[in-house]
């Protein structure tokens, strides 16, 4: 992967000036390349990684395994894209193995998610079955550990 993308993926708020220094590139080239990535849709957005467990939100997340029948035209894509459009669905992946789609669905509470599954998801044509698991606690998200960072144990000066 382009090192520029690695830097942004690790810290999207990194200033363009600093990125230019790290990569030993002119600032204009960094700006240009980021603009290109945005235009081509490689970079699709910039978000903060939150530790939501600390926020006491009225929110639950369910991980839902879905079995579907692929459509005659469009295969899995048609049904997967249709499901993805629901705002409740935060992430959606096509999987290998014993089910087809893996969804991360958010709702204010258990009942709301249950309603989404029974009233919106299951009735869709092509959805064969669902299996819903509720998330209890987040330890790591997007490569970021959620517990407090361990302090630097190193001596302040070392040879």
């Amino acid at each position: 992967m382009d090192e520029l993308l690695k830097i942004l993926q690790a810290n999207a708020t990194e200033s363009r000036e600093n990125i230019a220094k790290m990569l030993n590139l002119p600032l204009a080239e960094v700006n240009q390349r980021i603009a290109d990535y945005e235009k081509r849709g490689v970079i699709r957005g910039y978000q903060a990684v939150l530790n939501e467990d600390q926020l006491d939100l009225d929110r639950v997340t369910a991980v839902i395994e879905v079995k579907v029948t692929p459509q005659r035209e469009g295969g899995f894509n048609t049904i997967a894209e249709r499901i993805s459009r629901f705002p409740e669905v935060r992430s959606a992946y096509l999987m290998s193995g014993s089910y087809d789609l893996l969804l991360f669905v958010e709702g204010r509470n258990l009942r709301e998610v249950a309603a989404f599954v029974s009233e919106r998801l299951s009735p869709l044509e092509g959805v064969l079955s669902t299996s819903t698991h509720f998330m209890l606690k987040t330890y790591k998200r997007f490569g970021v550990l959620m517990h407090q960072d361990t302090p630097d144990e190193r001596l302040s000066i070392a040879p």
């Binding site: 090192e3 690695k6 830097i7 810290n11 600093n18 220094k21 790290m22 990569l23 030993n24 630097d152 190193r154 001596l155 302040s156 000066i157 070392a158 040879p159």
Partner: protein, 394 residues
């Protein structure tokens, strides 16, 4: 003590007369202060790769808590032989040409003690790692320091060695990539040095602890040059490239006669390196490209960042090519390296190490380690720029 001589007087003269490390003095000052950003730490900020730590825990659970062979686990020596051959181009027999030690520190001490008779001279180059001179003296050797210069990127030349060599010179000690300068040697540079060693029939001790950490060109080891393997002791360890300083694990590779002599001292003074550390090292060698590769990429970004920040603020700095140190010149501010470092610490709470800690010829330079997070580096550069701006204005 009732009328007897003071305890100080009884201390071995060599030990008594060696000053404490300059690093230590500076540490005492820094450790009394709060909120200091330290660019003075000569060890990686990265955590040891998790699979290595996890397998160490597993080793403890299985009861790997006993003495090992004096040489170290054979399984580890075999893995080291493969790694050193692939990475550095040195072929060693795991049975009797590799010794696992308590860090490169112990290996260095063993090598010098195994080779030197009192008064034998050891050529090395300064600025260098703080322990070299002391370790030579502890082994009753005579230290002869050649001085590398900023003008040629702190590389060592044959002329520098010739200027210092004496008829009693027996050993040549090398450290590239270099602590504290970040200098590396090209193959051509090393060929000149190797020719010198062969002509003078010197034993070479090469400390390549930063061998994986080069950023523009791959590292060349002197053991890979013709005729050098059989007169060289190659030292390496896990402290830097794998961020395993606290495991205290290093090793020496060399011709069997020399390794056997080192093993003899090791056997009587150390017995063996820690068993769980050795298990950790076996695991560390399982996928070095991944573990070390990721850290090298990050160091390179930091190196680029710090080098261009120095240029922007007007600090002259030869391009650091290896290890994780930059060694900018502060000579033009009309103060000593120590004064610069102290004032920077007091006014901006950034710790750097005065170059003089690494030999007298380090005067006029400070060592800035970029083994710290990008966040810290960014803040440190803002503060240094402010400081340098004031020095320039004043």
């Amino acid at each position: 003590m009732n009328g007897s001589r003071s305890l100080r007087d009884r201390i071995n003269l060599t030990v008594r007369d060696i000053p404490r490390s300059g690093i230590r003095d500076f540490f005492d000052i820094v450790s009394t202060m709060k909120d200091v950003i330290s660019l003075g730490i000569g060890e990686p900020d990265f955590d040891t790769p998790w699979h290595v730590r996890e397998s160490t825990v597993f080793a403890l659970e299985r009861g790997v808590t006993h003495y090992t062979s004096n040489y170290g686990y054979l399984e580890l020596r075999r893995a080291l032989a493969r790694y050193v051959a692939r990475q550095f181009g040195g072929e060693y027999n795991p049975d009797d040409e590799i010794l696992v030690t308590v860090g490169v520190s112990e290996a260095l001490d063993l090598a010098l003690r195994a080779l030197l008779n009192p008064g034998d001279a050891v050529l090395y180059h300064e600025p260098c790692y703080v322990s070299y001179r002391a370790t030579i003296l502890f082994a009753h050797g005579m230290p002869l320091a050649a001085e590398t210069k900023a003008e040629n990127g702190f590389r060592l030349t044959r002329a520098m060695l010739e200027a210092k060599a004496t008829p009693k010179t027996k050993v040549l000690m090398l450290n590239f990539p270099n602590n504290p300068t970040g200098a590396i040697m090209s193959r051509q540079d090393l060929e000149d040095i190797a020719a010198f060693a062969r002509e003078r029939d010197l034993i070479v001790i090469t400390d390549e602890i930063y061998g994986e950490l080069t950023y523009d060109t791959p590292h060349t080891s002197i053991v890979s040059l013709p005729g050098m393997r059989d007169r060289t002791i190659f030292l390496h360890g896990f402290s830097k490239a794998w961020a395993m300083t606290g495991f205290r694990l290093g090793y020496a590779c060399g011709p069997a006669d020399l390794i056997e002599a080192m093993m003899k001292i090791h056997q009587y003074t150390m017995l063996c390196a820690s068993s769980m550390g050795q298990k950790a090292a076996i695991e560390a060698l399982a996928r070095p490209e991944v573990d070390v590769g990721e850290m090298v990429d990050e160091y390179r970004r930091r190196r680029n960042f710090i080098a261009s920040a120095f240029t922007e603020m007007g600090l002259a700095c030869h391009r650091p090519l290896g290890a994780f140190y930059a060694f900018p010149s502060v000579a033009r501010f009309g103060c000593t390296a120590k004064e610069f470092a102290l004032q920077l610490l007091q006014e901006e709470k950034v710790a750097v190490v005065p170059g003089t800690a690494f030999g007298a010829c380090g005067e006029g330079f400070v060592r800035c380690a970029y083994a710290t997070s990008m966040e810290n580096l960014k803040e440190a550069m803002v503060r240094m720029r402010r400081f340098v701006g004031r020095l320039q204005a004043g």
